[in-house]
Amino acid sequence: MSNQSLPNDAPSWLRQMDRVLDAIAALCRGITGTSLVFLTVIFGWLVFGRYVLNATPTWVEQAALLLVMVIAFLGAAVGIHENTHLSVTLLRTSSPPRFKTLLIVLTDLILAGFGGLMLWYGAQLTMFKWGSMIPLIHLPEGLRSLPLTIGGGLVMLFSLGHLIRLWVGVDTRKDSFD
């Protein structure tokens, strides 16, 4: 959820957009949460394999690194939607309203642009590396950059969502308006 709900007089297309973005964020939370649980379980399996079966599952280490990518980049995108990233808001909170809005627009534009670059160059990196295999798990090396690519697209999407809400004057982030 991008914080509180929309006011009652919000246009219906905006509600629609909100529902879609919320659904995407919820899907990401589901994926990252499952990844974390799975990550924990495969490490248990690793130790069990080494001690009890005397056969260490050699795929765990590389698989774990991939899962962490998923958690980090999808989770970071959700963090944009929910506004939970660490940032320094000193200037913003002490600025007059119009300047403050300018700062917020600038921030969202920078985030959207950076998300776009993540998407574009992440896709190139993914294609560049698709041909070689990650040792021990036999999956394409390109998978390593896929979470960054998708996460980048989502960062762009969620920041644009912020901007659109701000544009129609219904932004609900705590510090958007005074």
Partner: protein, 302 residues
Amino acid sequence: ENWRGWNIHVDGYPNTVAMDKFAELLAEKTGGEITLQMFHGGTLGSQPDAIEQVRLGGLEVGNFNLGPIGPIAPEANVVSLPFIFKDVPHMFRVLNGEGGEMISAGMEAKGLIPLAWYDAGARSFYNGGKPINTPADVAGMKVRVMNNDLYSGMIAELGGNPSPMAFAEVYQALKTGVVDGAENNWPSYESTGHFEVAGYYSLSQHLIIPECLCINADSYNGLSDEMKAAVKEAAMESAELQHSLWAEREEASRAKVESGGVVTNEIADKAPFQAAMGPVYEGYLSSNPDLRPLVELIQATD
């Protein structure tokens, strides 16, 4: 032109000295037209990352081990087949002949040109419990290996338990017994301090993986013939220096760990180890059938 170079080794290491020498010779032989700024200690990224950076043209040169090039160029992976080389001189005879050309061609297709081959010695097993003389001694042993199917396959075929593990965790893991052993060459066995916690070094010499002084293919192919010759010459001379420094370093490391109480043993009969590698070779050849001639060429080289 100002080039940038990558090297994983620290100050004073043979490869570091040799790469600095390469930079010096490069400036000298090109009359200052090409300069090279070296970044040692792997500070611009891990080895697989740096290989990618050279391929993409972010860096021009790098000193790479052929092991991590294997997943990109299958031809280069052939040197990661356990026991494929009889000894280090044999490995160099192969690389300086037709075998070297085939490997180079495979790498060039992926945007990397090896200018010269560096020596990285031979890797052998070490552990904290007992000398290894036969495959039976490896059976049941948890051995840390690098991330490569061939290496983990090797340990598995010997009856051991291959345990991939981050390099930084190995010292502590050997000490507490999370793993029983690992494998490396003399200088690394010494500099990582692993000899302090795993005092039996058995000269299996199962992997003899060379290193290369590599250059980005576009950077090299864009040079005039004269410049190419100068670059190549500088690389060959730096390799010569590296080989002699490496030999000294191996001796020094061996002397140091042996005076530190390490028990070294030759393996009288390596045939049973080699015989156990059949499935590893078959697996490699079945996924790279066109590389059979290269493997046979190496085996036929004297």
